[in-house]
Symmetry: D2
Subunit: 266 residues, 4 copies
Amino acid sequence: DQPFTLFGGMNVLENRDLALRVAEQYKTVCAELDIPYVFKASFDKANRSSMHSFRGPGLEEGLRILADVKAEFGVPVITDVHEPHQVAPAAEVADVIQLPAFLSRQTDLVVAMARTGAVINIKKAQFLAPEEMRHILHKCEEAGNDQLILCERGSAFGYNNLVVDMLGFGIMKQFDYPVIFDVTHALQRPGGRSDSADGRRQQVTELARAGLSQKIAGLFLESHPDPDNARCDGPCALPLDQLKPFLRQMKALDDLIKGFEDLHIS
Amino acid sequence: DQPFTLFGGMNVLENRDLALRVAEQYKTVCAELDIPYVFKASFDKANRSSMHSFRGPGLEEGLRILADVKAEFGVPVITDVHEPHQVAPAAEVADVIQLPAFLSRQTDLVVAMARTGAVINIKKAQFLAPEEMRHILHKCEEAGNDQLILCERGSAFGYNNLVVDMLGFGIMKQFDYPVIFDVTHALQRPGGRSDSADGRRQQVTELARAGLSQKIAGLFLESHPDPDNARCDGPCALPLDQLKPFLRQMKALDDLIKGFEDLHIS
Amino acid sequence: DQPFTLFGGMNVLENRDLALRVAEQYKTVCAELDIPYVFKASFDKANRSSMHSFRGPGLEEGLRILADVKAEFGVPVITDVHEPHQVAPAAEVADVIQLPAFLSRQTDLVVAMARTGAVINIKKAQFLAPEEMRHILHKCEEAGNDQLILCERGSAFGYNNLVVDMLGFGIMKQFDYPVIFDVTHALQRPGGRSDSADGRRQQVTELARAGLSQKIAGLFLESHPDPDNARCDGPCALPLDQLKPFLRQMKALDDLIKGFEDLHIS
Amino acid sequence: DQPFTLFGGMNVLENRDLALRVAEQYKTVCAELDIPYVFKASFDKANRSSMHSFRGPGLEEGLRILADVKAEFGVPVITDVHEPHQVAPAAEVADVIQLPAFLSRQTDLVVAMARTGAVINIKKAQFLAPEEMRHILHKCEEAGNDQLILCERGSAFGYNNLVVDMLGFGIMKQFDYPVIFDVTHALQRPGGRSDSADGRRQQVTELARAGLSQKIAGLFLESHPDPDNARCDGPCALPLDQLKPFLRQMKALDDLIKGFEDLHIS
């Protein structure tokens, strides 16, 4: 059981300067705390509630910024794709490409992603049971890719709410792939604002602790220097100036949990 | 309040002969019962649980079959699309194009569909509240299309189960667009079989009655001459030989309901 | 398949005059519409959210009022009990005694009720699956009572919301006992007000139609001459002056549905 | 932030010898690990699924056994009550009396319990939102008791399943009363066996870790020397011989978490 990897960054690429600033902060803190680090940002928010919401710089400019972050800081990057044609260019830059939760059953996208040979982060859809994730794993395997990650991000719980079923981590770990936790999106309140999701960032440490208590392979986290003015999902974002104390706690927790012997209870 | 329209047909286009046979049966029964009719079939099942499952004839051959059905029986047709590039060719043949539930938040697909000018059937995602459908309607309207239909097909209820919230019809009707009910997919048990969804077709009349009791604009229904050997979603399909008695009841129910005065209870 | 029975009345017995007034209205309307009728009211609301909320006249005075209603109008009555010691006196007056949803698993109460020989209306708890109701039926049967009714009133759907699973009616009907629908309590929004449940009475006709479309044995309905000033559950109550047009529609719907042949779909 | 208290013991009092044996084991382990300890057992399982299931020794004999445990081991005890008349005798023996989840809205029981002056452990019902617990707290306070504990034990998640919303702990802690976690009952699968609930005891360490990661006041845990032959809720019980390694991990986790500074994220 190795230390957790942080897939950390920002929701959408607002601009190049901010991306570099955020990446630098993550890299510095992760280096100090000895946390393996992957920079995360989206080039396109393809499923915003409103058409007027900011979507991002798009594929070309977005990949350029991601390449700059890689070059500048020497960190691997992860980004999400939404259509098969984006997969190849994204995989040229990104070390990990991410399958969005809503799209996790779209066979053509899954197969196109798998064929790149990149590592694939599979977000668990809000409408899927943990056991059902095996179908998506199989699709990737059959397309020749076994560099797969499963990512929990909450389940639909009535209307306008998500709940994280902590027992789902254990079920997904039985598939023998790394399981990570997207604490940021699990904090969403879908439809909670007039034209976008609301969030519960004031509870991010609580929910992240619960996730890391599950002996998982990684944490997915979005931050922003000014969450109230973030262009997407600010209500879920960790204020960037809290990154270090936040991660210090998470690292200590993960270290402790990973040191526990397995109790085999049948 | 006009009589309901039937969006009826089969799940996936298994082959041309079967499509014609099914369409003929629907057309005959609907003519006898005076039910406005639109033929439904999919050219591609893009989100099957398993990669080995049958997906259909594909866009080109599928649209050819749909065109044949139109020509042969003089009925409008509806089919679903999954990527922006499919939208224009589909809208050339289909009178109504359908936005799949899982994809209902993908802005590019929604806008591409809206721009065709075709009527759009918007499936309500299993993870969305009825109130949230206004966002998708707005996207279409802003893209210049107000020929819109909202389609209920059940909400995620714990794992591996769907429930239809009957109060959602009333909420969605307040948007002043036609609201229809996809009884077939609401019968699914997601992840209920080892490699596909299970279904509850033995309860199709019960659930269809509940839906039509809501004074709605249409019913969406898939049938098959041999549900146990259907190539997709057989567990939810009405046996084709039950179509006439089934629809006779639904028509009588709809007629009664549409004749009721509105009781204004505040 | 006989016409539905109406278990209709008011939430809590506010006072004797109001009870008589309400009962008279129900009796008159049901007689005109040929609907079998049972008067319903509670002598104690034992599980109000707040201690300051009105609970009712209590067992003794409450049963006196119920006896007066019976004598005055010659109608059977139903009331709910909450502790074993209330069961015998309640059953002396009431023709049907009701097991509250929250208490439906309390064995001593169930057995005490069963032993009276009265008809028992078993409310399905918000946390039970339809299939689980057989356990409660078995408890009653083993205590020597098979005069049993099952009553749907909604399932917990996330926080602060209820949903009625229409497929549950069919599942419960397989137990071969009458299944009825408490439309009033299914309209609740638990915890929706600062010190009590909220409700959706403006949708009562819609939800009642859905229930009666299921070919059920009865409807449970609470009304009030002035819902905004009712002392309990006013947000769910039908305004009493709407009773006749409301029931006229329900009767017509039930008549139609009961006339349908069963379609045996396997 | 003090170390967590263990409310540990067995589900139902099967017999005196077993109770003493279980209590001794808990006491020894808790002393070694420096965990404050309260012995838990039920004298009556008042809401079993089946009438044929074992209910326990009853009030009188049960309280005698609890008194023996107190005398023999010098530990406080907690037990649950189901009717107002049980409250006074139970509070004479038990240091903490417990309000069952299904009964948590029954005002008379709540008030009777509050008036004893005993500490009250309030189980959160499976159908209540965390915010709604304030109503029950208020009832107790108004009855003159502020020695209150709130206990999470899972929320209804569709049919036959429970999920623990980790964010609920933080919400309930805002009421300024101790919040504890009943990991055992949160492992239930309601209606999962032909005549009783099923459980997921093989995941008890995972779920307990998640709970203790929330900086809570206590853990509620049931064990059994032979879970497969326990007379109630064996599928959820920790095997008694795993108690020490289990608690050692929980203590280490709690110590770490309680040492974290609060990050104030607004």
